[in-house]
Symmetry: D2
Subunit: 149 residues, 4 copies
């Protein structure tokens, strides 16, 4: 697959704007959260509800490429999996316009998630089944500009 | 100086908790925002009000080390500058407990900021004076665990 | 018309839940805000963009009738105008399920809005045209349970 | 007592501002939430932790009197109890400046709270002890301008 095979459209809220009248940089992470909740349910939901079992955020990295103004149209958030490990995996994101709206990429991001067992309050191993389901959505590295330093 | 010379205490809000009853991972970025607004005013405020001139967030990276429960006590956010360039600089953060509360580090993070001229809608160069002021708070790299990949 | 002639469907966000794992009471006002932004643009947009001219919130009243769990389906927010005055008007709301989801009413609310001229920083009179446009969506009083005290 | 005997100072966050660069009307309810969490713990905490037993919001009413700009100083939120019933009570609020900052009242509000037993998922009666504790903070009606209609 390519990194553009799976996406979720997330509507903006008027309150996503900050005092500069652009969508606030922290709210981008909020938009990613909503897209990720849908993706994980769709990717893993028939196997096991990882949102309940569940999954913890261990790391975020995000790069902002263009200012995003509030508008009725949603943002299209492409997502793919990366670096599927024993108990954790990464999700890559491109935050873009829907096809009929434009061609801007507003942000690129990456989240490391850890499978977690709330009952024992500790990380747990991903099952072979979960790893296979995540691998179906595997894509390449996020195209960060500033990574190497 | 060391990375522990400057900090801002940021109070939590009850609403920082999500459905897991911990402070939500995105809200950590919100806490960093509030600490950063104070830091930039204190570091650069007597020279020029960069919050108005102003400054844009170009990048965030954050690693979560321990769950944070809601409590009346604030979090202590240590901050220092890094990689001061022509038009941009980085801020490093450690999100910790105040001394009388505990010794946990909850998160480490880094933000790249770009000096911006709203009138011309374009990045602007940092003045020598601003660079000197930021250099007074220079510290080392953020102690990320997962950076090298 | 009846109070059920106009509605906006507003999607929930995972972060609308609080530590009780229900949609937080304050977030209901956030949902109303998003529905209202759409309604005012649709009701008055061809005449004058009141969101820019603009409009200020002078008052909210809200009554919660049933807990709302997070779900993929949006809430359906019915809206109508009330008490159209010289410089202000009220909006009534019923926060419900879409038809195919259920029949619960989660909240009832009312907002008083004031037409405002940002240039002169003072309230302004609604034009005859605006009053006529708002009157097309006039409905009855909000069915609050606890109003008379 | 008078309505000015008890208050909680709540710090603002930069993100409380909306695209109009004032503290957003919905965020006022967020500020009330934080003040109320402190008040209920202080008023009832030694008897029973109502935040866990707990307490649900049944109703809010709020009137905005003056725009609030972001500033380092907190808002001072005066609170008192009203209409203490079998299973519910009201809290009145005045959102003001601390003494050394100014004399503006930004908003007046009222919340109806219902004592709730999460184990049985139903309202519960306030104990005589709780009612006495709440009565120690009893005050008069909120000075709403627009109530009678």
């Amino acid at each position: 697959m390519t990194d553009r095979d799976y996406y979720v459209d997330v509507p903006l809220r008027w309150s996503d704007m900050d005092a500069y009248a652009h969508v606030n940089n922290v709210q981008f992470l909020r938009l990613l959260e909503d897209a990720r909740v849908v993706a994980i349910r769709e990717w893993l939901g028939e196997r096991e509800d990882m949102l309940r079992t569940g999954v913890l955020v261990a790391r975020h990295e995000i790069e902002y490429l263009a200012p995003l103004d509030f508008r009725p149209a949603p943002v299209r958030i492409f997502m793919w999996t990366k670096a599927i490990g024993g108990a954790n995996f990464d999700i890559g994101y491109d935050v873009c316009d829907p096809d009929d709206i434009g061609t801007t990429t507003y942000a690129r991001a990456e989240t490391t998630l850890v499978a977690y067992d709330f009952a024992s309050a500790s990380p747990r191993r991903l099952s072979a089944d979960e790893r296979a389901a995540l691998a179906e959505h595997a894509g390449g590295p996020v195209g960060f500009r500033r990574r190497l330093r």
